[in-house]
């Protein structure tokens, strides 16, 4: 490395570090310091808080268990069993990731509420409101994330230890306890913590279907939105930070397994007829679970008034658009595109510095880049309110762009960090001796080779900005509100058909984005393989 590029990279590093400090660290400090003025002890000992804490732990614990079990079963079907249409199943299982958590709660009301589609169809008694509703809704909201993580874990397990064990005559159940469990333990702990964090910090599902069963995020939401009690909100935000922080640390510790440099031998899928049949049954059941709420949204949207008047109509759509739906959709798309473009640029620059120019300052930059993993959206939102209130950014679309950017920064950053880390480490050195500068290597060699990852990052930023309801809920106003927040408003006004339409709309926009990304990736891949 010559001296000039050394200074260049240093100044970029300083710039990025300053950005992260303003966009993440300082707001968090504001949140911590706002607690100083509140009676923390009184909050912690109040019956309202302790009940909500117990409710949160109970519901999130149970939902995590169910979610991870379901995700493991489905991932096993996809990776280890010989079934057809694996791509289609994967797409179906991950559809719930494209709609806000609040839609999952609402989907259950539409299906199983007192006037729900299934309630009427099957004559079901009893109420879905409360713990049972939260469990089902949380599982639907979280299992796709767990599913994708577990698919990765199973896919990258090496089959050679099993072959060696079979040759040595070690029975199957001993292979399971001696090879499978130790291999799965660490990554599964990561999955469990991540899933638990996702569920316990979400307010969308419990606020719609929780009824009187209040959880901590709901409490926080009510304190901040309803009572404007930021101090109390901060205290709860801090409590919500704990599981995310633990998940973050556990994950960091688990990641240090060292790079697997040896070639792994993937498993040949189980070809027995019985296991395929079970796998198909499971996949179909899970697809129904995913598909039913979406179907119900469609029914609600396109009939005049379910279940009283079942005539087909576009009126609900038009009415929603009349009530500002068009404007809010535009807000969301604008926010999503800005987050995606800026996010891809910043995360690429950061990942380049941390993955390809390792140094002490790079390690600091890496750590600060992934801290957003440890900050739940609600906590991020309230910290932004406290830090940016009164600044020129407050009340603009820009602050929503910024908060989403930081909220969703870590995952796309890590995608690029991994991609760039895998590319040959000597490319810049070869360039340097041939008179090809660093920037040229980036432009002509590294970017063309990471196009797929760049597209994935773009899509991740956009899709998550479209569906998020947590960080943005405290920061938006009547002009800047993204469309995902309309679901809550419509649901509160009992305009379920409008809320259903908004959910469908978000799903449709995200599907279009996913489709475009898919086509783009296929095109670039074909281009590479053509010759």
């Amino acid at each position: 490395m010559n001296r000039r590029s050394g200074y260049g990279s240093l100044s970029v590093k300083l710039l990025l570090a300053a950005f992260f400090i303003v966009a993440v660290i300082l707001p968090l400090i504001s949140m911590f310091s706002s607690i100083a003025g509140t009676d923390v002890k009184a909050i912690f000992t109040s019956a309202r808080f302790t009940t909500a804490l117990k409710n949160s732990l109970l519901s999130a614990g149970l939902a995590t268990l169910l979610s991870v079990l379901l995700a493991t079963a489905l991932a096993w079907c996809i990776v280890r069993i010989n079934i057809k249409w694996k791509g289609m199943w994967t797409l179906l299982f991950t559809l719930p990731m494209l709609i806000p958590s609040i839609s999952h709660g609402m989907g259950l009301i539409v299906l199983l509420g007192s006037n729900g589609v299934l309630t009427n169809l099957l004559g079901i008694q009893g109420s879905i409101y409360g713990l049972s509703g939260i469990l089902v809704g949380s599982v639907m909201y979280s299992f796709p994330v767990a599913f994708l993580m577990i698919v990765d874990i199973l896919r990258y397990e090496d089959s050679t230890p099993y072959e060696a064990a079979s040759l040595l005559g070690i029975p199957k159940w001993r292979q399971f306890t001696a090879i499978t469990l130790p291999y799965l333990r660490r990554p599964m702990i990561s999955v469990i913590f991540a899933t638990f964090t996702l569920i316990v910090t979400d307010y969308g599902v419990p606020i719609t279907i929780g009824g009187k069963f209040a959880t901590l995020p709901v409490l926080m939401y009510q304190d901040v939105i309803g009572l404007l009690d930021f101090g109390k909100g901060s205290v709860i935000g801090l409590v919500l930070l704990a599981p995310a922080l633990i998940a973050f640390v556990v994950d960091l510790m688990n990641k240090n397994r060292g790079n697997m440099s040896y070639a792994i031998r993937p498993f040949a899928p189980n070809r027995s007829k019985g296991s395929s049949a079970v796998a198909y049954a499971l996949c179909i059941a899970a697809s129904l679970l995913v598909f039913l709420p979406i179907a119900a949204f469609a029914i609600l949207t396109f009939v005049v008034k379910y279940p009283l008047n079942m005539t087909f109509t576009f009126n609900n759509m038009l009415r929603t658009l009349d009530m500002g739906g068009g404007q809010y959709l535009l807000n969301s798309v604008v926010i999503g595109l800005f987050v995606a473009v800026i996010g891809v640029v910043i995360s690429f620059a950061t990942a380049y510095l941390t993955a390809r120019m390792p140094s002490k300052s790079s390690r600091f930059l890496h750590l600060i880049s992934i801290t957003s993993l440890a900050i739940p959206g609600l906590a991020m939102g309230i910290s932004y309110v406290l830090f940016f209130k009164g600044s020129f950014l407050y009340g603009t679309l820009a602050i929503l762009i910024l908060v989403n950017l930081m909220h969703f920064f870590a995952s796309p950053y890590l995608m690029m960090y991994n991609t760039l880390g895998k590319l040959n480490g000597n490319l810049e050195a070869v360039g340097a001796t041939l008179g090809i500068g660093r920037m040229r290597i980036i432009k002509d060699v590294l970017i063309p080779q990471s196009r797929g990852t760049l597209a994935e990052m773009f899509s991740y930023f956009f899709v998550n900005s479209m569906m998020t309801i947590s960080a943005v809920s405290f920061l938006s106003n009547i002009n800047t509100q993204p469309i995902s927040l309309m679901i809550n408003a419509f649901e509160a006004q009992m305009l379920l058909e409008c809320a259903a339409f908004v959910s469908l709309l978000i799903l449709a926009v995200n599907l279009v984005m996913k489709g475009l990304i898919y086509l783009y990736k296929r095109k670039t891949q074909k281009g590479m393989e053509a010759k």
């Binding site: 490395m1 010559n2 590319l423 040959n424 480490g425 000597n426 490319l427 050195a429 070869v430 340097a432 001796t433 041939l434 008179g435 090809i436 040229r440 002509d444 060699v445 063309p448 080779q449 590479m528 010759k531």
Partner: protein, 257 residues
């Protein structure tokens, strides 16, 4: 035969990474057109020497001269040196031809002839038929040939190799060895070759520099290393290891019969 000029002169070169001294006041010179191997176990500092010579890593102290000019602080591209890495480091998104042509096209005076130059180089390494292919379609040996052709593109007079054959199988190594010698003859380039393989060093080199823990143990011709090993280290780790290989080979052949 007229006495050969010094191509490179290295004086008192040291490198520290923090408190860790990787190279300790190393001095040596390389003759014009010489094939010099640097032999040593991993961690002996041989790769660090190569990175400092090419300017990829700055030295802590010491001087490097090429053709009598000090180049210690020149950027890598101004040193007229090429480098070939163990893992090829090819531009995977470019065809074989593009890989070789890329650097030439960035030189305004060479640009009009870039295609011709690149094709000639590929012809020389026997890959002209593969020039439209992408690197991932080629074998390891072929990829390393592309890397060599790419290095030759700007006609460097010193070429450095960082264990270029450790990822290749034995047959390919033997063939590539011959080709390296041929290329050296054709271009008259000075070659510095890093390896931990004693046999390779002895087969290829005019002189061998044996290193251990950041210091030169002996720098001499293969013949002199055998006849007059400078110390116990050379005897035990260089000569003894080769002897072991030969012995086990003989034993193997006998047991087969």
């Amino acid at each position: 035969m007229e006495p050969l000029k010094d191509k490179l002169v290295v004086q008192e070169l040291s490198k520290e990474f923090g408190a860790n001294e990787v190279l300790h006041r190393i001095s040596f010179s390389v003759k014009d057109g010489e094939f010099l191997s640097i032999l040593g176990p991993s961690g002996c500092g041989k790769t660090t020497i190569l990175r400092i010579l090419t300017g990829l890593t700055p030295a802590t102290s010491g001087h490097i001269y090429k053709d009598g000019q000090e180049i210690t602080h020149l950027p890598p591209s101004k040193r007229g040196m090429g480098i070939v890495f163990q893992n090829y480091a090819l531009f995977e998104n470019m065809t074989v031809l593009r890989n070789v042509e890329y650097a030439i096209r960035l030189q305004p005076d060479l640009k009009p002839r870039s295609r011709e130059i690149a094709e000639n180089l590929l012809e020389m390494v026997g890959l002209k038929d593969h020039m439209k292919q992408y690197p991932h379609r080629l074998s390891g040996g072929q990829q390393q040939r592309v890397a060599i052709a790419r290095t030759l593109a700007l006609n460097p007079d010193v070429i450095l190799f960082d264990e270029p054959m450790s990822a290749l199988d034995v047959d390919t190594r033997l063939i590539l060895r011959e080709e390296l010698k041929k290329i050296q003859k054709q271009f008259g380039s000075t070659m510095i070759y890093i390896t931990h393989d004693q046999e390779e060093a002895f087969a290829l080199s005019d002189r061998i520099m044996v290193m251990k823990e950041g210091q030169i143990q002996q720098l001499d011709t293969p013949r002199n290393l055998v006849d007059h090993p400078a110390n116990e280290y050379i005897e035990r780790f260089v000569l003894h290891n080769i002897q072991l290989k030969i012995d086990s080979l003989i034993q193997y052949v006998r047991s087969e019969a």
